[in-house]
Amino acid sequence: MGAGERPVSAELAAAERFLFLEARLLDAERYDEWLALLTDDVHYWVPGVENRNRTDAEGPFAPGRMAHFDDGWTDLQRRIVRFTSETAWSENPPTRHVHVVSNVEVEPAEREDELLVHSLTVVHRGRYEASDEALYGRREDVLRRVEGELRLARRRVILAHNVLPSKNLNTFL
């Protein structure tokens, strides 16, 4: 190949490290450490995806519509209180989640200290004796450099699912 090729950018490498670490923390239910990866002003959004015609101006999802997550830091923290409560009966025995992350791409974001990161997520769930659920989604994240470390400032996950093929969503995507 010719000269002038870009090697893997430091940004891409850092974004992958961030996302893979995040996935590993979620698989292990290390929620406090996960929360520490987010900025204070994080917006974590997994809109419901509606089944609409192409010509429909309202589109399959939009802010202000129903969502699985449309959370700020406090909302996420509340969910974690639930997950880690000893009276969260249905979390015991624990769910076995596997967060597969792939197709990581990095672009400049609007702010200098931020990166726009594309990725895909496949979240597989094993519960008790069953293990037949997998959710697929495309993510668009904004990672921000805060005191030398990357933090998740914004996430949007567009699921491939219209009717969620599951009774609940007891992890982050």
Binding site: N53, A67, D70, R79, W89, V163
Partner: protein
């Protein structure tokens, strides 16, 4: 398998229910015919169909239907299945359209379901006796609305909607008519699938105050920092009319408080006086109280949290949950947003309350796979002697929301409908 008649499966007097009603396909198919093809079913809120051409698709039992507002402003419902070869004619879940065109052979239907045109129509025109008027999408037998809530039934003999709801309207008014501006759904619909029998969910909202403090302890801690208080000893009730059920106490804001959003509870407290004038002081205190309700058979809601949902049957062991948020139209945008977010955080599939329910319901259903397990009766005997007369509350009234009275009434209605050959044999109760 030889099943006993439905009436032998439910013993209201002794408070027992046969587990087979949650498992057997034979009973499920009878439900589809005698309950879902016969009762008034919730199909839309008028606000979902704001203008001529607005439509949505939903199911009545396992029948897919289109609900559409015509050019004349009238809301109609008809089967979403082409009378030609049966293809679905509308694949979108909602939107705006000028009509519906079948993808297979191009039959096109108006917003009223009438056959409006055909691809290669010349061939039909030459066929003797072909009358397009006979080949529209099949209309439901009756469609009507109660204060914004649109219901439909496939049964021409069903009593009018007003009679079907009966005095339950007096309760529904608490949510549907506490403000001059009326109500609307905000934010659309989240749909999910639970591997449970639909009745397990419907009965839970009909009268299962008992589970709240136990099942949802973790959710209550997450949202409010504390467990649900004991419900025993508070003034509380279960009421039911024609199988429609509401269980409640009178704490005004118990449900609403689960959002952990002071603006929501404050709004209710501020409105208490105004509400009391409109609804009377008793109903006013029901508006956001710890409570839940089911409109027979499969529409449920939580006052205060304002989540409205239907339990769509998908076979005897699966239920699709469609969930919406109801608010007053006149509410500020800020508060509407607070409700939308609050429902999402608590009673969507990712909600901190909802997720514990699904787990219980799935295993309450699945356990019945065992033939020995299935042969046992379940206990529905709580509050067997709790029926009271009440000077103000309408319908059948029971003291204490910690009670199986509503569940018993739900299954009594279920039995009555499954036994009856037609509506003529069904009486109000």
């Amino acid at each position: 398998m030889s099943l006993p008649p439905p009436a032998a499966l439910v013993d209201v007097e002794r408070g027992t229910v046969d587990r087979r009603i949650f498992w057997e396909r034979e009973l499920y198919e009878r439900e589809l015919e005698r309950i879902f093809a016969r009762c008034w079913l919730f199909v839309a809120h008028e606000s979902q169909l704001p203008e001529p051409g607005s439509f949505l698709t939903t199911t009545m039992g396992e029948d897919n239907v289109i609900v559409a507002r015509g050019r004349d402003g009238v809301i109609r419902a008809f089967l979403n299945s082409c009378p030609h070869r049966g293809n679905r004619v509308c694949h979108a879940e909602r939107g705006t359209a000028r009509g519906f065109v079948c993808n297979y052979h191009g039959w096109s239907f108006g917003l009223d379901g009438a056959l409006r045109g055909m691809h290669e129509s010349g061939a039909y025109e030459r066929t003797p006796g072909f009358d397009p008027a006979e080949h529209g999408l099949l209309q439901v037998a009756q469609i009507d609305a109660y204060k914004g809530f649109v219901f439909a039934t496939f049964d021409a003999e069903a009593p009018p909607l007003a009679d079907y709801l009966g005095d339950f309207r007096w309760y529904l008014d608490i949510l549907l008519d506490n403000d001059d501006g009326g109500t609307e759904f905000v934010g659309g619909c989240i749909r999910s699938v639970i591997a449970c029998n639909w009745k397990v969910a419907a009965e839970n909202f009909a009268g299962d105050a008992l589970h709240a403090g136990w099942t949802h302890d973790s959710g209550a801690r997450a949202m409010g920092g504390a467990s649900v208080p004991t419900l025993d000893g508070q003034e509380s009730y279960q009421v039911n009319v024609n199988g429609h059920c509401w269980e409640f106490n009178l704490d005004l804001v118990g449900n609403a408080a689960t959002f952990g959003d002071k603006r929501v509870t404050k709004n209710l407290r501020v409105r208490e006086q105004e509400l009391a004038e409109r609804l009377g002081p008793l109903r006013a205190r029901m508006i956001g109280a710890i409570s839940s309700a089911t409109v027979f058979p499969n529409m449920s809601f939580l006052p205060g949290q304002q989540t409205f949902r239907t339990w769509q049957p998908k076979g005897p062991h699966h239920t699709q949950l469609d969930t919406w948020v109801l608010v007053n139209r006149s509410l500020s945008d800020e508060l509407k947003e607070a409700y939308r977010k609050g429902v999402m955080m608590t009673f969507s599939p990712s909600g901190v309350f909802e997720m514990d329910d699904g787990e219980n319901w799935e295993y309450s259903t699945r356990s019945n796979a065992g033939v020995v397990t299935r042969a046992q009766k379940l206990h529905y005997g709580l509050g067997l002697d709790s029926r009271i007369e009440h000077p103000e509350l309408k319908g059948n009234v029971f003291r204490s929301q910690l009670n199986d009275a509503n569940a018993r009434a739900f299954y009594a209605r279920w039995t009555q409908l499954l036994e009856a050959d037609s509506w003529a044999q069904v009486n109000d109760r």
